[in-house]
Symmetry: C2
Subunit: 202 residues, 2 copies
């Protein structure tokens, strides 16, 4: 007979699938939930339920939204001549938290990776080109803000080649970012430096 | 207009209430859940729902159980002459994982703390005495396995005083240097305890 109740093991398994949560953390969290009581369990349960039901993807940029166009794309004060291409929604949050950038975003939803079987069709790349080629597009500069990693660089190089014929300036982030690091872990100062230090590509 | 959808903020708030989960961790977890999709959200939701519905408290020791007496108390091979008194269910898991102890447990559900307003009535202390004074009790030794902290010590001292008239041997956990620890990193309190608790060699 196992030591822990089945439902406790289940919660630990589910929590353990989340990034940065090991077996011990998942255990501590599950026990804390149980001790906190059914009201707190209910609150988490309802919140997670609403998460998948209510949160949508912005039809413009691919960032998360309560429905319709996201707050960034619907903000009339954002600079519509700048488009920052990022891997995922966490990167948008990181840039917004760092401050300084007032343009728009495009969330790819991943990086190209032959090893992991991620090809251009798996990312929001067709949508990115639709957006750039739209007749009312005011985009003058595309910042390829991919992570300074092999996959990030490969994705940037791929996108730069595909965009070569378009009438947009291509830049990528300044190498103020430490190699091997991931965007979501970079601090605000590093991100601001990287924005300021962006350089023409090709 | 806030950057993040309300439901995403809600999940982050609920996850952020769990031990060891800061704002950034909660954010990373919530985004990962969202990206993982509704199936994974469903799985977590259902697991948390089952947690509060299915997991009960063992009427004997206060540890978590699927219902009825827990696997430890219902194990005929456990030594019923030993009772280890711990603060919470996580401690039971820690001892069971460490191995070596084959007695029973009593989970208090906290530590006495005048500052936090925790008095004996708030803990499973009356139940502990019921258990000790039961006519069929075979308990010969009570191990007061409270944390080596002010509150843990106060709780152990309180319990020892209350149990003085009972015909049981009272012990508490050995104190000193942790395994694998180095002398230079040990704090003064630990070193003093280690000196006081020195034992004859060979």
């Amino acid at each position: 007979m196992p030591l822990l109740p089945r439902a406790l093991e289940l919660v630990m398994t589910e929590l353990g699938k989340l990034p940065g949560i090991g077996r011990r953390s998942a255990e501590r969290m599950a026990f804390a939930l149980l001790i906190a009581g059914s009201e707190r369990c209910d609150a988490l349960e309802k919140a997670v339920e609403r998460l998948s039901e209510e949160v949508g993807v912005c039809p413009e940029c691919g960032f998360f939204t309560d429905g319709g166009v996201c707050p960034i794309d619907s903000d009339p004060l954002r600079d519509r001549s700048l488009l920052c291409v990022v891997e995922d929604a966490m990167d948008v949050v990181a840039f917004e938290r760092a401050g300084g950038y007032r343009g728009l975003y495009q969330v790819l939803g991943g990086m190209l990776s032959p090893l992991k079987g991620v090809s251009p069709e798996d990312l929001r790349i067709a949508h990115l080109f639709d957006r750039l080629e739209r007749s009312d597009s005011r985009i003058e500069e595309v910042i390829l803000a991919t992570s300074p990693s092999v996959e990030g660089d490969a994705t940037a190089v791929y996108l730069a080649r595909e965009m070569a014929s378009l009438n947009v300036r291509l830049t990528r982030l300044g190498r103020g970012l430490p190699m091997g690091g991931s965007l979501e872990h970079a601090d605000g100062g590093t991100l601001r430096m990287a924005f300021e230090g962006r350089r023409a590509m090709g």
